[in-house]
C-alpha cells in the first residue's frame, strides 16, 4: 500500500486530502443525513482538523469494527470515530490527544431492576462489535452479545431482547430521545476518546496533535460540542 509522502515526512493517501473514517452508526457522534451525507460530532471534528492541517477533508464511512483495520491497511489516513484509548488498541495504532471525554453507561428497559454494574452479574449484555465496551462488560458478566452497531444493540434491547446494553452515555441518551424504550442507569467509568492514526506515521500524529491543540485553544472544539450536545465534553472533567 503506497501512500503519498509529504515534505515533512508524514504520509497521506492523497497529498491534498485528509481521509478520515467514521462509522455513521453512532448518533450523534457520527451519522448520516437522509441524503447520506455524513455528519455528527466526530465528523465535524475531523473536518476541523483537516482544515487546520490545510487539507481537503474527506469523511469515509466504515463499519466500526473495521475502522482500526482500515487505518492499519491504509483505507483511511485516520479515524475520528470515538475510539476510546486503551492499551490493546495502542499496540496496533497510535492515538492523538483526547478530543472528548465521556464514558460507558448501562442502558436498560424502563421496567428493569438493573441499577449498577453489580446487578449485571449473569445478565445478558449487548455491545457493539469492536468497541471497548465488550471488555468493560466482561468485568461484570459472562453473557455478552455482539452487534454490528450500538444502535442495533439498543434497538434489540428496546424490542425486548437481552437485559442491558453498555454504550456511550450520549449515544444512549439520543436513542432514548428518539423513542427507544430505554433508560440510562449507572455511568460506569470515564473514558478518553481520541483520533486513531497508523503507527508508522509519527509525523502525521504530531501534526494532528498540533491541530487539535489549536482547535482547543480557539474554542472550535467546544463550539462543535455545544452544537451537538448542548454541553462541552471536550475538556477533561475534574
Amino acid at each position: 500500500a503506497e501512500k503519498d509522502r509529504l515534505e515533512d515526512g508524514s504520509k497521506l493517501i492523497d497529498k491534498d486530502t485528509f481521509v478520515f473514517a467514521a462509522s455513521g452508526e453512532f448518533k450523534p457522534f457520527s451519522y448520516v443525513e437522509n441524503d447520506m451525507t455524513l455528519t455528527g460530532f466526530d465528523v465535524e471534528v475531523g473536518r476541523a482538523v483537516a482544515k487546520e492541517l490545510g487539507l481537503e477533508p474527506v469523511a469515509k464511512r466504515i463499519k466500526f469494527k473495521g475502522i482500526v483495520e482500515g487505518v492499519k491497511t491504509g483505507r483511511a489516513d485516520a479515524a475520528v470515530a470515538s475510539h476510546t484509548i486503551n492499551p490493546q488498541r495502542s499496540k496496533h495504532v497510535a492515538f492523538s490527544t483526547p478530543y472528548y471525554y465521556s464514558g460507558p453507561q448501562i442502558f436498560v428497559r424502563p421496567d428493569s431492576k438493573i441499577k449498577t454494574v453489580d446487578d449485571l452479574k449473569g445478565k445478558e449484555v449487548a455491545v457493539a462489535k469492536g468497541s471497548t465496551y465488550a471488555s468493560t462488560a466482561e468485568k461484570y458478566t459472562g453473557n455478552i452479545k455482539m452487534y454490528d452497531s450500538d444502535i442495533t444493540a439498543l434497538k434489540a434491547l428496546s424490542g425486548g431482547r437481552h437485559d442491558a446494553v453498555i454504550t456511550d452515555f450520549v449515544t444512549g441518551k439520543t436513542a432514548a430521545k428518539e423513542g427507544f424504550k430505554i433508560e440510562g442507569r449507572q455511568l460506569i467509568e470515564r473514558s478518553e476518546q481520541a483520533i486513531v492514526l497508523p503507527q508508522d506515521n509519527p509525523q502525521l500524529l504530531k501534526r494532528v496533535n498540533e491541530a487539535l491543540e489549536n482547535l482547543r485553544q480557539d474554542g472550535t472544539l467546544s463550539k462543535i460540542s455545544k452544537e451537538y450536545f448542548g454541553q462541552d465534553i471536550t475538556t477533561k472533567p475534574e
Binding site: G66, V68, E69, G160
Partner: protein, 221 residues
C-alpha cells in the same frame, strides 16, 4: 498476510471456541433446514393444489424470497418476528433462515413431485384412492426420495448462508471469527481459520451427499 506459524498457532489455540461455534452453526443449519422442509412441503402442496389462489400464494412466497438478498430477509424477519412475539435469539435466527430455505425447498419439492410420472397418480386414483391418500402414500414417498440429493445440497448452501446469522448476534463460526479477529486486531488470521472450518464442513457434507446419491442410484428399488 499472517505467517504460517502464527496462523497455525492461532488455529490450534482456538479450537475450543471454534468447535462450539461450529456446533452452533450446524445446529442452526439443521434446524433451519428441518423447519424449511416443513415450510417447503407446505408451499409445494399449495402450488400443486387445484386451487389457483393457493398456487399464487406459493408463487408470491417463493418470489419474495428469491427476489431479495438473504441479509435483507434476515434483518426483516429478525426484527419483524421480534416485534410480534419474543422468541429466543436462536429461534429467531433459525426461523429467519428457515423462511429463506423454505422457498428453495418448496421449489425442490415442487420439482420432484412434478417429476413423478402422472401415471402414478392415475394408477392410484384408478384403485379408488382419494387424491390426498394417493399423494401421501404414492406420490410424496417417491418425491421425497428424489428430493434427498438436492436437499443435501440445500443443506450445504444453508450452512454457508448461516454465516449471515452473525449479523443478528448468533455466536456461530463467522461471528466468532470476526469478534476474535477484531478483539485481537488480527482479522485476517481468524478469517482464514474460519474459512478452513467451513471448507472442512462443506467437504465432509459434499462427500456424504455424493455417497448418498450413489447409494440411491444403486438401490433404485
Amino acid at each position: 498476510m499472517p505467517s504460517f506459524s502464527h496462523f497455525f498457532e492461532t488455529l490450534t489455540g482456538s479450537t475450543n471456541v471454534f468447535i462450539d461455534a461450529m456446533l452452533l452453526t450446524l445446529e442452526l443449519t439443521a434446524v433451519s433446514i428441518l423447519v424449511g422442509i416443513v415450510i417447503g412441503l407446505f408451499f409445494a402442496l399449495l402450488k400443486i393444489s387445484n386451487v389457483k389462489v393457493l398456487g399464487y400464494i406459493s408463487d408470491i412466497y417463493v418470489y419474495l424470497v428469491r427476489g431479495t438478498p438473504l441479509i435483507v430477509q434476515i434483518f426483516i424477519l429478525y426484527f419483524g418476528i421480534s416485534g410480534i412475539f419474543l422468541l429466543p435469539d436462536f429461534w429467531a435466527a433459525a426461523l429467519a433462515l428457515a423462511f429463506h430455505n423454505g422457498a428453495y425447498i418448496a421449489e425442490i419439492f415442487r420439482g420432484t413431485i412434478q417429476s413423478i410420472d402422472q401415471g402414478q397418480m392415475e394408477a392410484a386414483r384408478s384403485l379408488g384412492m382419494p387424491k390426498s391418500l394417493a399423494l401421501r402414500r404414492i406420490i410424496l414417498p417417491q418425491a421425497f426420495r428424489r428430493a434427498l440429493p438436492p436437499l443435501g445440497n440445500q443443506f450445504i448452501i444453508g450452512l454457508k448462508d448461516s454465516s449471515l446469522a452473525a449479523f443478528i448476534s448468533m455466536n456461530e463460526l463467522f461471528n466468532v471469527a470476526t469478534t476474535l479477529g477484531s478483539n485481537n486486531f488480527d482479522e485476517m488470521t481468524y478469517l482464514l481459520i474460519v474459512a478452513v472450518y467451513y471448507l472442512i464442513l462443506v467437504a465432509i457434507l459434499t462427500l456424504l451427499v455424493n455417497l448418498f446419491e450413489k447409494k440411491l442410484a444403486v438401490s433404485d428399488r
